[in-house]
Protein backbone atom coordinates (compact mmCIF):
# COMPACT_ATOMS: atom_id res chain seq x y z
CA UNK A 1 0.00 0.00 0.00
CA UNK A 2 3.08 2.25 0.05
CA UNK A 3 2.81 4.00 -3.31
CA UNK A 4 6.35 4.47 -4.72
CA UNK A 5 7.61 7.59 -6.47
CA UNK A 6 6.49 7.80 -10.08
CA UNK A 7 3.07 6.19 -9.66
CA UNK A 8 1.20 9.41 -8.91
CA UNK A 9 1.24 12.43 -11.22
CA UNK A 10 2.48 15.76 -9.81
CA UNK A 11 -1.11 17.10 -9.70
CA UNK A 12 -2.16 14.14 -7.56
CA UNK A 13 0.73 14.08 -5.11
CA UNK A 14 0.61 17.89 -4.87
CA UNK A 15 -3.07 17.69 -4.01
CA UNK A 16 -2.38 15.19 -1.24
CA UNK A 17 0.43 17.31 0.18
CA UNK A 18 -1.99 20.23 0.40
CA UNK A 19 -4.65 18.09 2.06
CA UNK A 20 -2.26 16.40 4.48
CA UNK A 21 -0.50 19.59 5.55
CA UNK A 22 -3.91 20.91 6.59
CA UNK A 23 -4.73 17.65 8.41
CA UNK A 24 -1.33 17.47 10.14
CA UNK A 25 -1.68 21.10 11.22
CA UNK A 26 -5.14 20.41 12.61
CA UNK A 27 -3.86 17.29 14.40
CA UNK A 28 -1.08 19.26 16.09
CA UNK A 29 -3.62 21.88 17.13
CA UNK A 30 -5.81 19.20 18.71
CA UNK A 31 -2.90 17.39 20.36
CA UNK A 32 -1.38 20.61 21.67
CA UNK A 33 -4.57 21.04 23.66
CA UNK A 34 -5.00 17.49 24.89
CA UNK A 35 -1.81 15.43 24.74
CA UNK A 36 -0.28 14.82 28.14
CA UNK A 37 3.39 14.20 28.79
CA UNK A 38 2.54 10.85 30.32
CA UNK A 39 0.93 9.69 27.07
CA UNK A 40 4.04 10.42 25.00
CA UNK A 41 5.77 7.05 25.63
CA UNK A 42 2.61 5.26 24.40
CA UNK A 43 2.68 7.44 21.29
CA UNK A 44 6.28 6.34 20.67
CA UNK A 45 5.45 2.70 21.35
CA UNK A 46 2.52 2.84 18.92
CA UNK A 47 4.62 4.49 16.27
CA UNK A 48 7.35 1.86 16.58
CA UNK A 49 4.77 -0.95 16.53
CA UNK A 50 3.20 0.40 13.36
CA UNK A 51 6.66 0.63 11.77
CA UNK A 52 7.64 -2.94 12.54
CA UNK A 53 4.29 -4.62 11.80
CA UNK A 54 4.47 -3.29 8.23
CA UNK A 55 7.72 -5.27 7.74
CA UNK A 56 5.81 -8.56 7.84
CA UNK A 57 5.12 -9.10 4.17
CA UNK A 58 2.64 -11.82 3.44
CA UNK A 59 2.33 -13.39 -0.01
CA UNK A 60 -0.97 -13.87 -1.83
CA UNK A 61 -1.46 -16.17 -4.83
CA UNK A 62 -1.00 -14.14 -8.00
CA UNK A 63 2.39 -12.73 -7.11
CA UNK A 64 1.58 -9.87 -4.79
CA UNK A 65 2.27 -9.20 -1.13
CA UNK A 66 0.80 -7.10 1.62
CA UNK A 67 0.90 -6.49 5.33
CA UNK A 68 -1.02 -5.25 8.35
CA UNK A 69 -0.51 -1.64 9.46
CA UNK A 70 -1.91 -1.30 12.98
CA UNK A 71 -3.95 1.74 11.91
CA UNK A 72 -7.18 0.88 13.72
CA UNK A 73 -5.30 -0.57 16.68
CA UNK A 74 -3.40 2.66 17.29
CA UNK A 75 -6.59 4.69 17.00
CA UNK A 76 -8.29 2.56 19.67
CA UNK A 77 -5.25 2.82 21.96
CA UNK A 78 -4.21 6.44 21.32
CA UNK A 79 -7.26 8.13 19.87
CA UNK A 80 -7.46 8.93 16.15
CA UNK A 81 -5.45 12.19 16.19
CA UNK A 82 -2.48 10.77 18.03
CA UNK A 83 -2.69 7.67 15.82
CA UNK A 84 -2.56 9.91 12.74
CA UNK A 85 0.67 11.48 13.94
CA UNK A 86 2.32 8.26 15.06
CA UNK A 87 1.57 6.37 11.82
CA UNK A 88 2.72 9.36 9.76
CA UNK A 89 6.05 9.21 11.62
CA UNK A 90 6.38 5.48 10.86
CA UNK A 91 5.63 6.14 7.15
CA UNK A 92 8.16 8.98 7.11
CA UNK A 93 10.92 6.76 8.51
CA UNK A 94 10.01 4.00 6.04
CA UNK A 95 10.26 6.41 3.10
CA UNK A 96 13.33 8.37 4.17
CA UNK A 97 15.48 5.68 5.77
CA UNK A 98 14.36 2.53 3.98
CA UNK A 99 13.07 3.74 0.62
CA UNK A 100 9.68 2.08 1.24
CA UNK A 101 7.04 4.38 -0.24
CA UNK A 102 8.07 7.44 -2.23
CA UNK A 103 8.92 10.94 -1.08
CA UNK A 104 6.55 12.55 -3.59
CA UNK A 105 3.84 10.09 -2.51
CA UNK A 106 4.48 10.39 1.24
CA UNK A 107 1.42 12.61 1.76
CA UNK A 108 -0.85 10.34 -0.28
CA UNK A 109 0.39 7.30 1.64
CA UNK A 110 -0.21 9.15 4.90
CA UNK A 111 -3.72 10.02 3.75
CA UNK A 112 -4.55 6.35 3.11
CA UNK A 113 -2.73 4.64 5.96
CA UNK A 114 -2.45 7.34 8.66
CA UNK A 115 -5.73 9.22 8.11
CA UNK A 116 -8.41 7.04 6.46
CA UNK A 117 -7.45 3.99 8.46
CA UNK A 118 -7.30 5.24 12.05
CA UNK A 119 -10.36 7.48 11.69
CA UNK A 120 -12.58 4.87 10.03
CA UNK A 121 -11.29 2.21 12.43
CA UNK A 122 -11.87 4.39 15.47
CA UNK A 123 -15.45 5.34 14.63
CA UNK A 124 -16.36 1.78 13.63
CA UNK A 125 -15.02 0.54 16.96
CA UNK A 126 -17.00 3.21 18.79
CA UNK A 127 -20.14 2.35 16.83
CA UNK A 128 -19.95 -1.35 17.69
CA UNK A 129 -19.15 -0.53 21.32
CA UNK A 130 -22.22 1.67 21.85
CA UNK A 131 -23.85 1.03 25.21
CA UNK A 132 -22.09 -1.17 27.76
CA UNK A 133 -20.01 -3.53 25.67
CA UNK A 134 -18.66 -6.79 27.09
CA UNK A 135 -14.97 -7.56 26.68
CA UNK A 136 -15.86 -10.04 23.94
CA UNK A 137 -17.74 -7.34 22.04
CA UNK A 138 -14.77 -4.96 22.36
CA UNK A 139 -12.39 -7.59 20.99
CA UNK A 140 -14.74 -8.34 18.11
CA UNK A 141 -15.19 -4.61 17.45
CA UNK A 142 -11.41 -4.14 17.32
CA UNK A 143 -10.99 -6.93 14.77
CA UNK A 144 -13.89 -5.73 12.67
CA UNK A 145 -12.58 -2.15 12.72
CA UNK A 146 -9.16 -3.44 11.64
CA UNK A 147 -10.63 -5.46 8.78
CA UNK A 148 -12.85 -2.72 7.36
CA UNK A 149 -10.41 0.15 7.84
CA UNK A 150 -7.56 -1.66 6.08
CA UNK A 151 -9.88 -2.40 3.18
CA UNK A 152 -10.97 1.23 3.00
CA UNK A 153 -7.33 2.33 2.90
CA UNK A 154 -6.64 -0.23 0.15
CA UNK A 155 -9.63 0.95 -1.89
CA UNK A 156 -8.50 4.59 -1.57
CA UNK A 157 -5.05 3.53 -2.75
CA UNK A 158 -6.64 1.69 -5.67
CA UNK A 159 -8.71 4.75 -6.62
CA UNK A 160 -5.65 7.04 -6.51
CA UNK A 161 -3.67 4.66 -8.71
CA UNK A 162 -6.61 3.98 -11.01
CA UNK A 163 -7.27 7.68 -11.63
CA UNK A 164 -3.78 8.26 -13.01
CA UNK A 165 -4.41 7.11 -16.61
CA UNK A 166 -7.37 9.56 -16.71
CA UNK A 167 -5.34 12.44 -15.31
CA UNK A 168 -2.07 11.97 -17.14
CA UNK A 169 -1.73 10.10 -20.42
CA UNK A 170 0.17 10.80 -23.63
CA UNK A 171 -1.93 11.92 -26.63
CA UNK A 172 -1.81 8.34 -27.92
CA UNK A 173 -3.36 7.13 -24.69
CA UNK A 174 -0.26 5.65 -23.10
CA UNK A 175 -0.38 6.36 -19.34
CA UNK A 176 2.42 8.54 -17.92
CA UNK A 177 2.26 7.28 -14.33
CA UNK A 178 0.38 4.37 -12.67
CA UNK A 179 -0.72 2.46 -15.77
CA UNK A 180 -3.87 0.58 -14.77
CA UNK A 181 -7.36 2.10 -14.96
CA UNK A 182 -9.86 2.19 -12.07
CA UNK A 183 -11.61 -0.98 -13.19
CA UNK A 184 -8.39 -2.93 -12.71
CA UNK A 185 -6.67 -1.03 -9.88
CA UNK A 186 -9.59 -0.89 -7.43
CA UNK A 187 -10.59 -4.58 -7.64
CA UNK A 188 -6.93 -5.66 -7.52
CA UNK A 189 -6.27 -3.67 -4.36
CA UNK A 190 -9.62 -4.52 -2.78
CA UNK A 191 -9.58 -8.24 -3.49
CA UNK A 192 -6.28 -9.15 -1.84
CA UNK A 193 -7.18 -7.12 1.23
CA UNK A 194 -10.71 -8.55 1.41
CA UNK A 195 -9.55 -12.15 1.16
CA UNK A 196 -6.36 -12.08 3.20
CA UNK A 197 -4.68 -8.97 4.56
CA UNK A 198 -7.88 -7.68 6.18
CA UNK A 199 -8.07 -10.84 8.29
CA UNK A 200 -4.43 -10.47 9.32
CA UNK A 201 -5.11 -6.87 10.35
CA UNK A 202 -8.21 -8.06 12.26
CA UNK A 203 -6.23 -10.75 14.08
CA UNK A 204 -3.43 -8.34 15.06
CA UNK A 205 -5.89 -5.67 16.21
CA UNK A 206 -8.00 -8.10 18.25
CA UNK A 207 -4.99 -9.82 19.79
CA UNK A 208 -3.32 -6.63 21.03
CA UNK A 209 -6.58 -5.07 22.26
CA UNK A 210 -7.47 -8.28 24.08
CA UNK A 211 -3.99 -8.33 25.68
CA UNK A 212 -4.30 -4.73 26.84
CA UNK A 213 -7.88 -5.21 28.11
CA UNK A 214 -6.70 -8.15 30.17
CA UNK A 215 -3.56 -6.49 31.57
CA UNK A 216 -4.23 -2.78 31.85
CA UNK A 217 -7.53 -1.75 30.35
CA UNK A 218 -7.03 1.91 31.16
CA UNK A 219 -4.11 2.15 28.74
CA UNK A 220 -6.76 2.34 26.02
CA UNK A 221 -7.82 5.81 25.02
CA UNK A 222 -11.31 4.47 24.43
CA UNK A 223 -11.54 3.35 28.06
CA UNK A 224 -10.89 6.79 29.49
CA UNK A 225 -13.79 8.70 30.91
CA UNK A 226 -11.85 11.92 30.49
CA UNK A 227 -10.89 11.42 26.87
CA UNK A 228 -10.82 14.57 24.83
CA UNK A 229 -13.72 15.56 22.68
CA UNK A 230 -13.14 15.09 18.99
CA UNK A 231 -13.47 18.53 17.40
Amino acid sequence: MHIPDGYLSPATFGFFYAVMIAIWAWASRVLKKVLKLRQVPILALGSAFSFVIMMFNIPVPGGSTGHATGGALLAIVLGPWAALISISIALFVQAVIFGDGGLTTFAANSFNIAFIMPFSGYYLYKLICIGKPSTARKIFAAGFAGYISLNLAAIFTGIELGLQPLIASKPDGQPLYAPYPLKIAVPAMALEHLILFGFIEAAVTSAVISYILKNERTLLYTEHKWKYKIP
Partner: protein, 121 residues
Protein backbone atom coordinates in the same frame (compact mmCIF):
# COMPACT_ATOMS: atom_id res chain seq x y z
CA UNK B 1 5.89 -5.39 35.52
CA UNK B 2 4.24 -2.33 34.04
CA UNK B 3 2.14 -2.87 30.94
CA UNK B 4 4.29 -0.46 28.92
CA UNK B 5 7.43 -2.46 29.73
CA UNK B 6 5.61 -5.63 28.71
CA UNK B 7 4.52 -4.09 25.41
CA UNK B 8 8.08 -2.92 24.66
CA UNK B 9 9.33 -6.47 25.30
CA UNK B 10 6.67 -7.81 22.92
CA UNK B 11 7.77 -5.27 20.34
CA UNK B 12 11.39 -6.45 20.57
CA UNK B 13 10.28 -10.08 20.24
CA UNK B 14 8.33 -9.11 17.11
CA UNK B 15 11.47 -7.38 15.78
CA UNK B 16 13.43 -10.62 16.22
CA UNK B 17 10.97 -12.69 14.17
CA UNK B 18 10.73 -10.04 11.48
CA UNK B 19 12.72 -12.13 8.93
CA UNK B 20 9.47 -14.10 8.45
CA UNK B 21 8.44 -11.08 6.41
CA UNK B 22 11.26 -11.84 3.97
CA UNK B 23 9.66 -15.10 2.84
CA UNK B 24 7.40 -13.12 0.53
CA UNK B 25 9.64 -11.74 -2.19
CA UNK B 26 7.11 -10.43 -4.71
CA UNK B 27 6.33 -6.70 -4.68
CA UNK B 28 2.91 -5.51 -3.55
CA UNK B 29 0.33 -4.60 -6.20
CA UNK B 30 1.22 -1.21 -7.67
CA UNK B 31 4.76 -1.18 -6.27
CA UNK B 32 6.66 -2.73 -9.19
CA UNK B 33 10.10 -1.52 -10.22
CA UNK B 34 10.77 -0.46 -13.80
CA UNK B 35 12.02 -3.90 -14.89
CA UNK B 36 8.82 -5.51 -13.63
CA UNK B 37 6.73 -2.81 -15.33
CA UNK B 38 8.54 -3.47 -18.61
CA UNK B 39 7.67 -7.13 -18.27
CA UNK B 40 4.02 -6.42 -17.46
CA UNK B 41 3.30 -3.61 -19.92
CA UNK B 42 5.99 -3.78 -22.58
CA UNK B 43 6.87 -0.15 -21.86
CA UNK B 44 7.75 2.07 -18.91
CA UNK B 45 5.34 4.99 -18.39
CA UNK B 46 7.36 8.10 -19.28
CA UNK B 47 6.38 10.28 -16.34
CA UNK B 48 7.06 7.43 -13.94
CA UNK B 49 10.51 6.89 -15.44
CA UNK B 50 11.45 10.50 -14.68
CA UNK B 51 10.81 10.33 -10.94
CA UNK B 52 11.36 6.60 -10.45
CA UNK B 53 13.76 5.91 -7.57
CA UNK B 54 13.96 9.56 -6.71
CA UNK B 55 15.28 8.45 -3.37
CA UNK B 56 16.29 4.91 -2.44
CA UNK B 57 16.55 5.41 1.27
CA UNK B 58 19.68 4.90 3.32
CA UNK B 59 19.06 1.17 3.80
CA UNK B 60 17.10 0.40 0.65
CA UNK B 61 14.52 -2.35 1.05
CA UNK B 62 15.37 -2.90 4.75
CA UNK B 63 18.43 -5.03 4.00
CA UNK B 64 21.90 -3.43 3.96
CA UNK B 65 23.51 -3.92 0.55
CA UNK B 66 26.39 -6.07 1.76
CA UNK B 67 23.86 -8.46 3.36
CA UNK B 68 21.70 -8.91 0.28
CA UNK B 69 21.24 -12.35 -1.28
CA UNK B 70 22.98 -14.09 1.58
CA UNK B 71 21.81 -15.94 4.67
CA UNK B 72 22.80 -12.78 6.50
CA UNK B 73 19.87 -10.93 4.94
CA UNK B 74 17.75 -12.13 7.88
CA UNK B 75 20.17 -10.45 10.27
CA UNK B 76 20.15 -7.33 8.11
CA UNK B 77 16.36 -7.31 8.28
CA UNK B 78 16.39 -7.57 12.09
CA UNK B 79 18.99 -4.79 12.19
CA UNK B 80 16.68 -2.62 10.06
CA UNK B 81 13.71 -3.42 12.31
CA UNK B 82 15.62 -2.37 15.42
CA UNK B 83 17.06 0.73 13.74
CA UNK B 84 13.61 1.68 12.46
CA UNK B 85 12.03 1.16 15.88
CA UNK B 86 14.67 3.35 17.51
CA UNK B 87 14.37 6.18 14.97
CA UNK B 88 10.56 6.05 14.83
CA UNK B 89 10.18 6.00 18.60
CA UNK B 90 12.80 8.76 18.93
CA UNK B 91 10.98 11.07 16.51
CA UNK B 92 7.64 10.28 18.17
CA UNK B 93 9.09 11.11 21.60
CA UNK B 94 10.39 14.46 20.37
CA UNK B 95 7.17 15.41 18.56
CA UNK B 96 5.10 14.13 21.48
CA UNK B 97 7.07 16.20 23.98
CA UNK B 98 6.66 19.31 21.86
CA UNK B 99 2.92 18.76 21.40
CA UNK B 100 2.27 17.87 25.02
CA UNK B 101 4.03 21.05 26.09
CA UNK B 102 5.21 18.97 29.07
CA UNK B 103 1.70 19.28 30.40
CA UNK B 104 1.36 16.86 33.26
CA UNK B 105 -1.65 14.85 34.08
CA UNK B 106 -2.29 16.70 37.37
CA UNK B 107 -3.69 19.61 35.44
CA UNK B 108 -6.15 17.29 33.88
CA UNK B 109 -7.11 15.74 37.19
CA UNK B 110 -7.87 19.20 38.47
CA UNK B 111 -9.96 19.91 35.44
CA UNK B 112 -12.02 16.77 35.51
CA UNK B 113 -11.69 15.37 38.99
CA UNK B 114 -10.57 12.08 37.57
CA UNK B 115 -7.30 10.16 37.68
CA UNK B 116 -5.14 9.19 34.74
CA UNK B 117 -6.85 5.83 34.55
CA UNK B 118 -10.30 7.32 34.45
CA UNK B 119 -11.23 6.18 37.95
CA UNK B 120 -13.27 8.57 40.07
CA UNK B 121 -11.15 10.35 42.63
Amino acid sequence: MHIKTKLWIWLLIIALIVPLGLIATAPAWGEWDTAQLMEKLGYIPEGLKKIDRLWNGIISGYVPESFENSPLSAIGYIFSALTGIAITAGIALIIGRILSGKREVNELQNETGMGINGEEK
